[in-house]
């Protein structure tokens, strides 16, 4: 299990906040990843250039950070590809239906004190806590 490092957590969080502010001050957009990616994949033509640029930046971030001495840790994922695919579908569909994810609602929305984003964040976080409780501790079933 990865150890808890409050300094990295605070520094990383500050960078996430800084990037969100920078995107707003420079090009006037909210840094919501599901919205940005959804716009890239939308069938309708639209302002896709800045969206693709942001996504490419995200994808290349680990390459840049490796030079700074922060290699990308290998993520621990469930063994089942079916489970991973179902989770991916739910995350993709759900974030588009709910107009946002951890970045758009959880950071940018709460920072704006949007009631809609606060509600969304409370709901997805509470739901995920219940899912993890069931998966790890088997509430309602055998533990």
């Amino acid at each position: 299990m990865a150890s808890f490092d409050p300094f990295s957590a605070l520094l990383g969080g500050a960078l996430i906040g800084f990037a969100s502010v920078l995107l707003m001050i420079l090009i006037g957009r909210i840094a919501g990843i599901s919205g940005i990616l959804g716009g890239c994949l939308a069938l309708a033509a639209g302002d896709k250039v800045w969206r693709f640029a942001f996504v490419i930046g995200l994808i290349l971030a680990p390459v840049a950070s490796a030079f700074l001495g922060y290699p990308l840790p290998t993520p621990q994922m469930p063994a089942s590809w079916v489970m991973i695919a179902i989770a991916g579908l739910l995350v993709g569909f759900g974030t588009r239906l709910g107009d946002g994810c951890t970045s758009g609602h959880g950071v940018c929305g709460i920072a704006r004190l949007s009631a809609r984003s606060i509600a969304a964040t409370v709901i997805f976080m509470a739901t995920a806590i219940v899912v993890v409780a069931i998966m790890r501790h088997g509430f309602g079933g055998r533990s």
Binding site: A2, D5, A9, L10, G12, G13, A14, L15, F18, A19, V21, L23, I25, L26, I27, G28, R29, I30, I33, S34, L43, V55, G57, L58, P62, S65, Y70, L72, P75, M77, M83, I84, I86, A87, G88, V91, G92, F93, G94, T95, L97, G98, C101, T102, S103, V107, G109, A111, S114, A115, R116, A119, A120, T121, I123, M125, A128, V130, V131, A133
Partner: protein, 154 residues
């Protein structure tokens, strides 16, 4: 110029996710596992991100317009409707199952792990399905009952 600015913002955002530990699903699941060995990392990340973005957005509002665009596109809706609730529940289920949300999933693509690629492909498919479904619902509202509805799919 906007593309370059956006690219740099994506880089910084991704770097922040990486060093905060949020690209590691086990740390996210550790935060969500309030009945197990709780990992407070995500709370620290959010507090720092909210502090900076809260102050930064307030400063941004002091300017009449963004540096490289004609206007700020702040979200305007503030209602809590059914799609917001249902969408957030579905997202919460997927997030709790694997511990990845859209940002960390994309950052993890650089690791070329097959599992991550499966997740990102499925996530992209989920987004496209939502887009197609939107168009269907929208076209059936715009077109009357009797009129043959034009196919907007594919």
């Amino acid at each position: 110029m906007t593309a370059l600015a956006s690219f740099v913002c994506g880089l910084i955002f991704g770097f922040g996710l990486l060093i905060s530990g949020m690209t590691q699903p086990e740390k996210v699941l550790g935060f969500l596992d309030i009945f197990g060995r709780w990992d407070p990392t995500l709370a620290f990340v959010m507090v720092a991100a909210l502090l900076i973005s809260g102050i930064g957005f307030a400063l941004a509002r002091q300017r009449r317009r963004p540096v490289l665009a004609a206007q700020y596109l702040w979200p305007t809706r503030n209602d809590i409707d059914r799609t917001l609730v249902v969408g957030s529940i579905l997202f919460g289920i997927g997030w709790g199952l694997v511990g990845l949300c859209p940002g960390p999933a994309l950052v993890n693509l650089a690791g070329l792990t097959p599992n991550v690629m499966v997740f990102v492909l499925a996530m992209a498919a989920g987004m496209v399905i939502k887009d197609l479904w939107n168009r269907r619902v929208h076209s059936s509202i715009v077109v009357g009952n009797d009129a043959p509805s034009p196919s907007t799919d594919g």
